[in-house]
């Protein structure tokens, strides 16, 4: 039952004390016929699911938790949380017994109820997801966690709702690591920063005394690999989120850049500048042995593994200008996959394996797009003066990237860089909230 929620308590010192299904019938029912509220994502794009999330009962964090859930669901573009002002029954009363007629009347197809219990420093939050039309419970789960972690409980509940109603895993219990930018562009201060996917709990990981770029998560979400200019030596480093420890990865005499972990976390693939060229290398994180994967006589950068670890997509100008190439993870046999108009860069393989997202520069415009791994089915999702660096949410349905606005004056007036996200169908583009300008987002896997 716990696995069905994607919870693996204890293994990584998770803060959650445990989760339990409250009732069995929901699970049993799910095996028979799907809840009537369940629709596919394609339909939810045009017709977001109306859902009511009243304040959880018990006071305290109840209202806060429901607000976070509402924001998550609304931001996905696939749900339409009903305005609290329309509620007829209170969350307190609904937690005891939902009066389904009251929720039908205000147009909710799904209802979330729950109760928060303060266990003295810890919270126990039980929640139930209801299918309003047949008046049936779809899911009931209880979470226990330190009170300070109430937001995580809200994200976990959001993920359960997303998965039960859309039939796909959610992406709310995740974090984003990025480069926080401040100051004028010629003296930009760049710091590693990390935040929850909704922009909360922002924290700076480095102090800005050396430049950092290109942070990427380890598949366990506890480590980051990034590029640092510490002591004026641009190199790829590992950063441990628990200890704050940083260490150089590999023993390359020159610049290493654009690192990314393999799906099993055992290897980092990166680019190493050798003379006038740049080649892709794989570094074994345990033994630190390093292996050269390309020697194409061009600038080979931005490698990204396929989710099964068998292939690597990367960016190379070996054919004259920047294009995307795919090769086996052991190197060799690279074949070009991008053939549209323009230059292609920053490829990143979807965790679902079905798509590669990229940056395209064409006709003076930058765009974020996706194509299938064989190069077919190219779609540009967003286009503008400046944008790059897509990263997939762990369910492969949403991309985060960064957008730059054009400087309007000679002193860089009007320039900004902000994080944005967009559904892979090309809808629901929204700016993400960060305390400073931001670039180079990397989306974590699900934390639990």
């Amino acid at each position: 039952m716990m696995t069905s929620l994607g919870l693996e308590t204890g293994r990584r010192g998770l803060i959650l004390g445990g989760a339990a299904l409250l009732t069995v019938p929901a699970t049993a029912r799910a095996q028979g016929s799907a809840p009537s509220t369940v629709i596919d994502i394609t339909k939810a794009r045009t017709d977001p699911i109306p859902i009511a999330v009243p304040a959880l009962a018990g006071g305290g964090r109840g209202a806060d938790i429901s607000r976070v859930i509402q924001a998550n669901l609304r931001n996905s573009g696939l749900f339409r949380p009903v305005d609290n002002a329309a509620f007829i029954q209170s969350g307190e009363a609904a937690a005891a017994t939902p009066r389904f007629q009251d929720w039908r009347t205000i147009g909710a197809n799904a209802l979330v109820t729950g109760r928060v219990e303060d266990l003295g420093g810890r919270l126990r939050v039980e929640f139930r997801l209801w299918d309003v039309l047949p008046e049936q419970q779809i899911q009931g789960t209880a979470f226990t966690a330190p009170a300070a972690q109430w937001r995580r409980i809200a994200h976990l509940i959001s993920d359960v709702i997303y998965e039960r109603l859309l039939g796909e895993k959610g992406y709310f219990d995740t974090r984003i690591v990025y480069v926080a930018e401040s100051g004028p562009r010629d003296r930009r201060v760049r710091r590693l920063a990390i935040m929850d996917q909704d922009g909360e709990n922002n924290r700076f990981l480095t102090d800005g005394s050396f430049q950092v770029l290109s942070p990427r998560f380890h598949p366990n979400a506890q480590q980051i690999v990034f590029m640092s200019y510490f002591q004026n030596q641009p190199r790829v480093y590992l950063f441990d989120l628990n200890s704050g420890r940083q260490e150089v990865l590999g023993s390359f005499p020159g610049m290493t850049l654009s690192p990314r972990f393999s799906p099993d976390g055992r290897t980092v693939v990166l680019s190493y500048a050798q003379g006038g060229d740049a080649n892709i290398f794989a570094v074994d994180v345990g033994s630190r042995s390093q292996r050269q994967l390309t020697s194409g006589g061009g600038l080979d950068v931005s490698p990204s593994y396929s989710p099964d670890g068998s292939q690597i997509v990367f960016n190379s100008d070996r054919g004259g200008d920047q294009q995307l190439y795919v090769m086996g993870a052991g190197g060799g046999g690279a074949r070009r996959i991008s053939f549209g108009r323009g230059r292609y860069a920053t490829p990143v393989w979807s965790p679902r394996g079905d798509l590669i997202a990229f940056t395209r520069i064409s006709g003076g415009q930058f765009g974020i797009g996706v194509m299938r791994p064989d190069g077919s089915g190219e779609r540009i999702l967003s286009e503008g003066w400046g944008m790059e660096g897509p990263t997939f949410a762990p369910n492969g349905r949403v991309l985060a990237f960064y957008r730059e606005s054009r400087a309007s004056g000679a002193r860089g007036e009007g320039y900004s860089s902000r994080l944005a996200q967009i559904d892979i169908a090309g809808f629901n583009e929204r700016q993400m909230v960060t305390p400073t300008d931001a670039t180079d987002p990397s989306w974590s896997p699900l934390l639990a």
Binding site: P234, G409, A410, G412
Partner: protein, 165 residues
């Protein structure tokens, strides 16, 4: 970066070093390390062998065409003068910084900047400077000298800058 360069002085020298760049001396130019501040010695008073001296006497930077990593003809003569200047100060070691304009992606531009730094370094070495004295470093598009989003600014940003360590 720990380099120090004078805004006004840098701009003057820049004008001298690359007269083919009609926009090279705009007020937005801030010099190699991006310190951009004013102050220090006036023209002609730079300490011999210092960054200020390099800028004032031979010019600290060369420019590149879009997507090109070949030093242009005007840049080659700048690098010849830099090699002669470095021969006068055998104890000076330098960074050769490679840069790119903002119309490319960050990671590719880091590699492009590295290639530009290497091209410029190779010409210094060809001019007799020991390769041991030159450390290349690339900032890609992340340390622009000119802050505008226009052709003139981009022309100034596609550059390799020699900075005294």
């Amino acid at each position: 970066m720990n380099t120090k360069i004078l805004g006004a002085l840098g701009a003057l020298a820049l004008l001298a070093a690359c007269s083919s760049e009609d926009t090279a001396a705009t007020g937005a130019s801030t010099g190699a390390g991006g310190a951009g501040g004013m102050g220090g010695a006036g023209m002609g008073a730079a300490r011999p062998g210092s960054q200020e001296d390099l800028v004032a006497s031979v010019g600290d930077r060369v420019f590149f065409d879009t997507d090109s990593t070949q030093v242009r003809g005007d840049g080659r003569s700048t690098l010849e003068r830099q090699a002669a200047w470095l021969a006068r100060y055998p104890n000076v070691t330098v960074y050769m910084e490679g840069h790119a304009d903002e119309r490319g992606t960050r990671e590719y531009n880091l590699a492009l900047g590295q290639r530009r730094a290497n091209s410029a370094r190779d010409l210094l070495v060809a001019g007799g400077v020991s390769g041991q004295r030159i450390q290349t470093i690339s900032y890609g598009k992340d340390r622009p000298a000119a802050l505008g989003s226009d052709d003139a600014s981009w022309a100034q940003n596609r550059r390799a800058v020699t900075t005294v360590r």
